[in-house]
Amino acid sequence: MTADMTEAIPTPVLQAVGLSKAYGRVVALDDADLELYPGEVLGVIGDNGAGKSTLIKCFSGAVIPDSGEIRIDGEAVHLRTPSDSMAAGIETVYQTLAVCPALDIGTNLFLGRERRKPGILGSVFRMLDLGGMREAARKEMSDLGLLTIQDMSQAVETLSGGQRQGVAVARAAAFGQRVIIMDEPTAALGVKESGRVLQLIRDVRDRGIPVILISHNMPHVFEVSDRIHIHRLGKRVAVVTPKSHSMSEAVAIMTGAVQSDMTDEEMARPAAQLAA
């Protein structure tokens, strides 16, 4: 965009332009921007109450912004419900996981978009293809290296924390056609399980689907992110890369100890063009 930039900036897959959202007098988002470019993992960090979750929920259709615009591949879209967002190919792994504990793995994976049997059983008797969905669930779980769970008809509440996380991630990976958003995916996990989720994030990116990773865990963010979006007081204050900044520098910007002097244009650059 700037005169000295020779490389063209690609169209962001997902973009927030000037999003604002207030809950009564509490301003959660204040003219917030975000760009997610093809093939990247974008880390999003920020202190508690900085508005990260609200920003993410605007993308997943769980929160409707008061003003501002969300663009997918450059086109403005209105994401009024979670279904709108999912229909646009955006899948979210919520911090709460959003799985139904009493229901089985196969049902959870396809909840809200069940497959019906072909032919008259499906069209007239509305019969679901339970076997087919279970089979697809098994395949998805095994693609993610989670096949130690053998029985797709077992209830999610009988799984360990890491396995539940796996179910939520598998659902996102199975249906995320465009973007996958993960909100604190390693918060409840041990070291090994976290490592597996981080590997999953890289795998998903390598399959060509960009990922937004929200986390408080700086080592995790710095390990997998191509760019790191730093959110403070409801807006973006800097975008750094693991190469350009150390963790402590990023935390200093995040907490306000250091003021970032980045311009909006600089913050909107893809990783390759961010000054090293």
Partner: protein, 361 residues
């Protein structure tokens, strides 16, 4: 629980694969389940198993206590006695599965029966038309409950407590508190039971009322719907975790409204069966059905907290209640012990449910 003898590292043991919950990551944290845990898991997976086992035990006990108990005539009597409650309890089940409750079952049922009877007896409306109006009216009553719950964000307990009184008062107004005799109505409205309304079932050589057969058919249909259709799965999901359901794209308000409306329709069918059973439409009957349906649902293993249970369990629950009353009476106990027993059963059932819900990895 933490017996060190049970500690095994090898995941290939038969017990481990039977439990089928052992993940590679946390393998070393796990132990094989104890016998009690295994029972807990089986009950968790098959919520109707508990009531089924109890029913069989009770059947055996009563057949020892009284030789009349197991005779086809007596079995047929029990089925007839549970038909109305059993039918209404299907509606109560799908509502409780959404973590709701319906206290207006009895009021809707009686109100619908009065409307059907009055249309036929006082206004000469053909039986089939009176039935259809009644079915629509029951559905509308349920729909009203559902709309009040979702639009005003009121707890189902409060909404249906209110509509219980409202529907019952309107029912008294419409009927002028007067019973309408079956002989004044179109026969269609009352021939779901009795001599004309029964079919001789060959193997047991005993007449079974059409209403009872209708009830069983409704259980089969509802079992299919809950297990094999998206709407059925969404009922469980909504009751289990409404916020998670919303985030996965389920329109939970739409699910709730439709569940209350369908329950209202089921109550209207129950109202039809009720007129066959008592051979009249009585505006004072039926308030007991509120608690009787909840009792059947709870004894049938469905959780009052929503999301868990099967409708077949409710049928077993209704039969358990009917059989307990019948068996205790045949065995010569004072009727007060019937209520005592059913009260104990309810508490036991809820305790077992709480225990099953604590199952974990």
């Amino acid at each position: 629980m933490s017996n060190p003898e049970d500690y095994r590292r090898e995941p290939a043991s038969a017990e481990a694969s039977a439990a089928a919950v052992v993940g590679e990551i946390s393998e070393h944290d796990r132990q094989d389940p104890t016998a009690v845990q295994r029972i807990q898991r089986v009950l968790h997976r098959y919520p109707a198993l508990g009531p089924l086992v109890f029913l069989v035990v009770m059947l055996a006990a009563f057949s020892v206590m009284s030789d009349r108990f197991l005779q086809p005539f007596n079995m047929s009597l029990i089925i007839q006695q549970v038909t109305v409650v059993g039918t209404l309890a299907i509606g109560q089940t799908i509502i409780i599965l959404t973590a709701g409750i319906d206290l207006s079952v009895g009021a809707i049922t009686v109100f619908v029966s009065v409307i059907m009877a009055k249309l036929s007896a006082d206004y000469g409306v053909p039986g089939i038309a009176a039935l259809l109006v009644g079915f629509s009216f029951g559905t509308a009553c349920g729909l009203l409950n559902g709309l009040l719950i979702t639009r005003l964000r009121l707890p189902p307990f409060i909404v249906t407590l209110g509509t219980l009184s409202v529907f019952f008062a309107l029912n008294l107004y419409v009927s002028a508190s007067t019973t309408i005799r079956g002989s004044d109505m179109d026969p269609l409205l009352t021939t779901t039971a009795g001599k004309q309304g029964s079919i001789l079932v060959p193997i047991i050589d005993t007449p079974i009322p059409l209403a009872s057969l209708g009830m069983i058919a409704m259980y089969v249909i509802m079992s299919y719907i809950l297990r094999y259709t998206a709407w059925g799965r969404h009922i469980y999901a909504t009751g289990d975790d409404p916020e998670a359901s919303r985030l996965t794209g389920i329109k939970i308000d739409r699910v709730l409204v439709s569940v209350y409306a369908v329950a209202g329709f089921i109550y209207a069918i129950g109202a039809w069966f009720l007129m066959g059973r008592i051979g009249a439409a009585s505006p004072q009957s039926g308030l007991g059905y509120n608690l009787d349906t909840i009792t059947a649902v709870v004894i049938g293993g469905t959780s009052l907290f929503g999301g868990r249970g099967v409708v077949v369990g409710t049928l077993l629950g209704a039969i358990i209640v009917g059989m307990a009353r019948n068996g205790l009476s045949l065995a010569g106990f004072d009727p007060l012990w019937q209520d005592f027993t059913i009260g104990v059963l309810v508490i036991v059932a809820v305790t077992v449910d709480q225990w099953i819900r604590r199952v974990s990895a």
